[in-house]
């Protein structure tokens, strides 16, 4: 409850609801949706002058240790059951599609190396990536197209989605397990094979927008460049 009514009235003709009410509203909206809801959408649906980002923080605290939790998924928020209670939910459990080893590895490579081109995935796995593998991951909406790489041929890149983060309970791609260690060990470097055309490789490395450093992952959405 951090109301400063005078200030609010200066800013807006209508007073925003008290923070307690805003928290209730965020609670209702998050409860009503199976999908994560962005702060932007919350703002759009709540009364003028509301501050859903702040209300979420209160709500999140309120649900700590409860049967459900307020979780962050990329730029969005969702309510999910506490993982320790999964055993109660046999009835709700959805049959998970069995992913091939190739698909799982490809997914991990995309997640840790994003944005990554198909050629780079193949370089890492040492084998060509079948069309079906990418298709399956696209269909699951776990990956999507990132920006085209600004190298000859302008190859498409792949990045992971919010659905991926949601599925694996990740707040952001930066929270991937072991990411920091892999990075420190240089295993996420784009290291060209010796004797390769280093000019090109260097350029591609430089153009590569590092998703993990950027705060706003939304701006990597693209793909109408073909048009």
């Amino acid at each position: 409850m951090v109301d400063a009514p005078e200030e609010q009235q200066e800013e807006s003709l209508f007073e925003a609801p008290p923070m307690g009410e805003q928290e209730r509203m965020v609670e209702a909206i998050l409860f009503a949706s199976a999908e994560p809801v962005t702060v932007r959408e919350l703002t759009g649906r709540m009364p003028h002058g509301s501050d859903p980002a702040e209300a979420i923080q209160y709500l999140r605290k309120r649900y700590e240790g409860r049967g459900v939790a307020v979780v962050r998924v990329g730029d969005a928020w969702a309510i999910r059951t506490a993982p320790d209670l999964g055993f109660l939910m046999q009835k709700e459990t959805v049959e998970q599609r069995k992913l091939s080893r190739a698909a799982i590895e490809t997914l991990a490579i995309i997640a840790y190396h994003q944005p990554v081109t198909r050629a780079e995935i193949e370089e890492i796995r040492g084998v060509s990536v079948s069309r079906g593998t990418i298709d399956q991951l696209l269909e699951l909406e776990w990956i999507k197209l990132g920006r085209r790489r600004m190298t000859p041929g302008r190859p498409v890149t792949f990045i992971v989605t919010e659905t991926f983060l949601d599925h694996f309970g990740l707040e952001s791609a930066r929270d991937l397990p072991g990411l920091k260690e892999l990075r420190q060990a240089g295993l996420l470097d784009n290291r060209p094979p010796p004797g390769a055309d280093e000019e090109t490789e260097f350029e591609s490395g430089e153009e590569e927008p590092d998703l993990f450093e950027s705060d706003d992952e939304d701006d990597t959405v693209i793909d109408d460049e073909e048009a």
């Binding site: 409860f31 009503a32 949706s33 199976a34 999908e35 649906r45 969702a78 309510i79 999910r80 059951t81 506490a82 993982p83 999964g86 939910m89 709700e92 459990t93 959805v94 998970q96 080893r101 190739a102 799982i104 590895e105 997914l107 991990a108 490579i109 997640a111 840790y112 890492i124 796995r125 040492g126 084998v127 060509s128 949601d166 599925h167 694996f168 309970g169 990740l170 991937l176 397990p177 072991g178 892999l182 060990a185 295993l187 290291r191 094979p193 010796p194 004797g195």
Partner: protein, 264 residues
Amino acid sequence: MSDDPSILETSVSDRLAAEALIVDVEGFEGPLDLLLTLSRTQKVDLRKISVLELAEQYLAFVEKAKELRIELAADYLVMAAWLAFLKSRLLLPPDPAEEGPSGEELAAHLAFQLERLQAMRDASARLMARDQLGRDFFARGITEDVTRTRRVTYTANILDLMQAYSRIRTKDEFRPLSFDARESILTMEQALDRMRSLIGFAGEWTDIMSYLPDDWSGDPKRRRSATASTFAATLELAKEGKLELRQTDTFAPIQIRSREARNG
């Protein structure tokens, strides 16, 4: 090199493992995967792996596969050729005249590739071991979709209203006109028909106004229409090369004469 005793003197269990590898060749996801599996027999940190030893293991594997007449995919053979080349680079003293990366550089990169592949394997295992939505934690079961209602409001102001009324009233007042107009119009087709039939007689320059139909020259409204359509008809005929037009001065009478009559 393949008969180097150090390679052949492998333990029984290693040989059995090698044969199992061959039987399982379909199970490998490419040469790099196979190399990674072979590297496990060295039982060392991937960073300390002996690439030379690994290359020899791989080449032995390919030899064995050939003996057993197992068809190896092309990329396995390409890797074999490359590893044979790498092996020679690693064993022979460096030739200063030779271009390109040294055997050590190539070996280091291969070691890096193997370590990276293993790292990604481990990462994917850790990823899949995480709590997963729909398996370990769950989303809302009863959802309430946001119902999107589109409300259309119509706007009109007093000016729209008055203009609309004026429009109706205007239409009302001029309705008789539209009937008159219809009767008072000589269409271009009519004029053209008429001119076609008359033009043959126009040997000399004649005022265009004399071609107006008799009953169209009295009433001003009708005369105006007939003048316009007749003029348009003569232009059309001039275009067809049937007649000529002239006008001596601005606003002076327009005169026409037949071309055919003159030529023929």
